[in-house]
């Protein structure tokens, strides 16, 4: 038996409370700042308790925009973020489940080659090849379009590897049984494989949605019109006016709005999130 010391428990709780405090404090401060008026925040003596300008600040951030900058209001950017994040997640799942199905359940010439062609993309994130990729997207006239925001980011092997791994764990007897029942490749995929893959699909969706929502460098490069900007880009642009002039209470309201959807996904779908995180890293 391992000894039990009450003092040990106290220390453990103290350290953990400190941990939660460190993790939560920056966000708490953003929430507080988004509830005060501009003067209180800029004055440098912002209290640590909420003020009473919350509704006004969020209303202005979402629908009106800042008064000192000519930036778009955030409402539009939220829509852009949703469309591109969902597009990236769905696109990745779509192309990768099909290719994994081909690689696992069929035998054909160049099967290994196809797998390696996809596998290599795992190594080079878009950050490494931004300008050449930018050139391609610009040549295809996809700057400032949703296709331009989404398609280059779904070219990755993560999903294919994940589905391949999962398909491998499905017993062969299932395929034999459906073949005896007269099922072809389409029926087997639709009636057997897809229902079995629901959890894997959901886990991948959660991870890729967060990945897509939080993209920064790529949207920064290929969006030139304010109307195509995502919220993560928008918040940074609010601060590019000199710091003293920036409307911090609106910037913080925007930061809170930018965090909310992905954080909600992690907190409410924790089980799927953890599963997706562990499995995509294997």
């Amino acid at each position: 038996m391992v000894e039990h010391r009450p003092l040990n428990d106290v220390i453990a709780y103290a350290i953990l409370t400190l941990g939660v405090f460190i993790v939560a404090f920056p966000v708490y401060l953003a929430l507080i700042a988004s509830s005060h008026d501009a003067g209180t925040v800029i004055g440098g003596h912002m209290p640590l308790s909420p003020g009473n300008h919350t509704l006004e600040n969020y209303y202005r951030a979402v629908f009106v925009g800042g008064s000192r900058t000519s930036r778009e209001p955030v409402g539009h950017m939220l829509t852009n973020s949703f469309i591109s994040a969902a597009g990236i997640a769905v696109g990745k799942i779509f192309i990768s489940i099909l290719s994994a199905y081909a690689v696992v359940y069929f035998r054909f010439p160049f099967r290994k080659t196809a797998f390696w062609i996809i596998f290599v993309t795992l190594m080079l994130p878009v950050e490494v090849r931004i300008y050449p990729t930018y050139k391609v997207v610009s040549d295809l006239h996809m700057l400032d379009t949703y296709a331009g925001l989404i398609l280059p980011l779904i070219a990755s092997a993560t999903g294919t590897l994940l589905f391949r791994q999962f398909f491998m764990t499905i017993p062969d007897e299932l395929l034999e049984a459906s073949r005896i029942d007269g099922a072809g490749p389409f029926r087997f995929f639709w009636d057997t494989l897809l229902p079995l893959s629901v959890t894997t699909i959901a886990a991948l969706f959660v991870i890729q949605f967060i990945y897509g929502w939080n993209q920064y460098l790529w949207p920064l490069l290929i969006t030139t019109q304010d109307s195509m900007q995502t919220i993560v880009i928008g918040i940074k642009k609010m601060l590019t006016t000199t710091d003293e002039l920036a409307e911090w209470q609106l910037a913080m309201a925007t930061a809170v709005l930018a965090m909310l959807p992905p954080v909600a996904v992690v907190v409410f779908m924790q089980r799927l999130f953890v599963r997706g995180l562990v499995e995509t890293e294997k």
Partner: protein, 293 residues
């Protein structure tokens, strides 16, 4: 590993592969090979003609003092972020591991910063440490410490490191906790029976058993620092002051944005690709075989 039962269609598998292969070729292989090709060319200012110049772009790149500075910055930044975020996460994970019920609750409290975009995390941290109005900058200045990340390179680096560590703790915590929970209790009890105290048990039993997780996380963290911190750096410092927080990835972006030297920019991309491929090779060579979940 191969399936023994398969379909034997001739064309269908190719059709299934087409969407992914097309996307991969258009947005991955084509740009990557363009970068490689361009890194050996010199284009004139109007992009009308180009000539093959061999390794001159690389020679010019490695003759730049700024390039070595960016390399050094990347090494310092990666080391600080990886070591700090691993150490802090391990401390929290070992405490949470002591009580299973509490662990579940703390997990929820600890993991959500993973979902915060790097750029947004950066903005949160500038707000706290903005010299004139930041809630945490004011006590620093009050104590007579001349805190100014906008002018002082070390302060800027400290701020970027803090924001990057803050975001990464949750990920490391999650994997450390899973690693700790998979260590059999009997091993630890055996240590306790032999008279080893908690600290001794940790360093001689738990930490060695955890080393595959630690090594895996080390590689993941380095990759994270290389690429995902772009948003933090751009939001917090924009690579400054005086290039003190310009990492290799940030330099590719910053140099390319100025336009002009396509060949040099391509050469930078190629060097980065080589570094990443080496890192990934290490990851697969050592991590794949040893990590147990």
């Amino acid at each position: 590993m191969e399936k023994s039962a398969v379909f034997n269609s001739k064309l269908l598998p190719y059709a299934l592969l087409v969407p992914q292969l097309v996307i991969t070729f258009v947005f991955f292989y084509w740009p990557a090979s363009q970068a490689l090709w361009q890194s050996f060319l010199r284009e004139d200012a109007f992009g009308l003609s180009s000539e093959f110049i061999g390794f001159e772009n690389y020679e010019a790149l490695f003759a730049q003092p700024e390039y070595y500075k960016a390399m050094l910055t990347t090494v310092v930044f990666s080391t600080l972020v990886a070591v700090l975020s691993l150490a802090i996460a391990l401390l929290f994970a070992t405490q949470a591991d002591k009580n299973l019920k509490a662990a579940q609750v703390y997990k929820t409290f600890m993991i959500w910063p993973y979902a915060v975009a790097p750029a947004v995390a950066g903005v949160l941290w500038i707000f706290m440490f903005q010299p004139s109005l930041g809630t945490l900058a004011q006590p620093l200045r009050f104590m007579g410490f001349d805190w100014n990340p906008l002018l002082n390179g070390n302060h800027a680096m400290a701020l970027v490191v803090m924001a990057a560590v803050w975001k990464q703790i949750s990920y490391n915590f999650l994997f450390f906790l899973a690693g700790l929970q998979s260590i059999p209790k009997s091993v630890i009890e055996a240590g306790a029976i032999d008279g080893a105290g908690p600290m001794r048990r940790f360093w001689t039993i738990v930490f060695p058993l955890l080393s595959p997780t630690t090594f895996f996380l080390l590689v993941v963290n380095v990759v994270y620092v290389f690429f995902d911190t772009f948003g933090i750096i751009d939001a917090v410092t924009g690579g400054g002051p005086a290039g003190n927080t310009t990492t290799l990835v940030y330099k590719v972006y910053a140099d390319g944005r100025l336009g002009g030297d396509l060949g040099g920019s391509a050469a930078q991309s190629v060097v980065l690709m080589i570094i990443v491929v080496a890192l990934t090779a290490v990851q697969f060579r050592y991590v794949e075989r040893k990590v147990q979940y």
